[in-house]
Subunit: 236 residues, 2 copies
């Protein structure tokens, strides 16, 4: 099975939890895009006439709008029923690294505002320890980016500004620093340190935000709620 | 003496610590503006030919440039020797509430990057407990502002969006929520909670950032270093 096929299967399984009338958060990225398409399909079938959607990025807003999904804002709906989003790395505690697509700030705000946050991944994203497979994205204001890069290096990371001399800009027109910390001993402790940095707008450590996980592999999709034993899908 | 006269006296005393060749941070606000003018005056006298300045806001950049001060960026100079800035409230531990002028994010980045952060105030800003005299400014991204306003209310604050329906925009085009917490028991603890909120870009609690304080009152100016007993200027 191709990677896209696995992503599609995870997305379809997650969209099965969507019911009519929900306020939905739409994640950014290639896996979430399959969920957006599936939601639109169910809506065209007439089964979800009363949903409204809050996209996590300008790109997702365009995609969803093109498919005819009704968009709204967190301003109008500050409480989200269910969000489906991808992740770059998932650990045994269901904590995450996100932000590979650059939408980490809005994804985190949406996750925080969501009653239920369903993370969809293929099995390759599962990891015994965050930081093993993916460098942590950190969004910083351009004004202080170099100070923050130095601070992150002093915390033990190897830091690259995404895009190099032609820097990638987030939807808020900030930079992203990709920070290779290696395996991260305590995501919660590192999150607190990063949160305290004045020029850090957001970082990709999502601690205690996911409520559900759907993992797709060659043998099918599995759904886990927070607190489940994930060792089976991590060892695979 | 007028309030402006006191501010000017505090600013002049602080500018006495500036020496040639320094990288200087320029604070935002009416008190800091007197420091900017005094630095420009000393420069015209020929005593500070080798300084460079990093302004904390677009407004200060314009003011300083108009006075002929040489500007630079944190990008070019990520280590600042000395910053002079105002504050809205100062407690006995020399912790601060700042951000009344809306430049809190850059002021905090600059304070953090400064070897020496001199805070200049008139005596009316001294307070036994932060939050007694001034509502805490919190900069939030527009995308999630209402979620953050509700989260701040649940932390015990009465929250007003600055500018109301015609919202004030920071230099980063974010909103400011003025949060009346009443007297704040532990500024460090509240700071950690605010730092952890995903939609909060910056907040006005400056904990352990000031190294020096200059207080102007009817009886003259006093200079304190961090760790000094400030009870004398607070009781006045």
């Amino acid at each position: 099975m191709t990677s896209d096929e696995l992503k599609r299967q995870a997305a379809w399984r997650a969209v099965g939890f969507v019911t009519d009338g929900m306020v939905l958060g739409l994640g950014h990225g290639s896996t979430s895009a399959f969920a957006v398409e599936r939601i639109a399909e169910r809506r065209r079938d007439g089964s979800l006439p009363g949903i409204v959607c809050i996209p996590c990025s300008k790109e997702v807003a365009q995609h969803a709008e093109g498919l005819g999904l009704p968009l709204t804002t967190l301003d109008a709906h500050p409480a989200i029923d269910l969000t489906i989003d991808g992740a770059d790395e998932v650990d045994p505690a269901m904590d995450l690294i996100k932000g590979g697509g650059g939408a980490l700030l809005r994804e985190k705000i949406v996750a925080d505002a969501s009653e239920r946050e369903i993370i969809i991944v293929d099995a390759s994203k599962m990891s015994a320890r965050l930081g093993t497979r993916f460098a942590l994205p950190v969004e910083v204001v351009p004004f202080g980016w170099r100070v923050e890069a130095e601070a992150l290096e002093s915390l033990g990371a190897h830091v690259l500004r995404r895009g190099g001399d032609d820097p990638f800009l987030t939807d808020q027109r900030n930079y992203v620093l990709d920070c290779d910390f290696g395996p991260i001993e305590s995501p919660a402790e590192l999150a607190t340190r990063l949160d305290a940095r004045p020029g850090v707008v957001a970082h990709g450590l999502f601690v205690s935000l996911a409520t559900d996980l759907v993992v797709a592999s060659e043998t099918g999709t599995q759904h886990f709620v927070r607190g489940s034993d994930l060792s089976e899908v991590i060892r695979r």
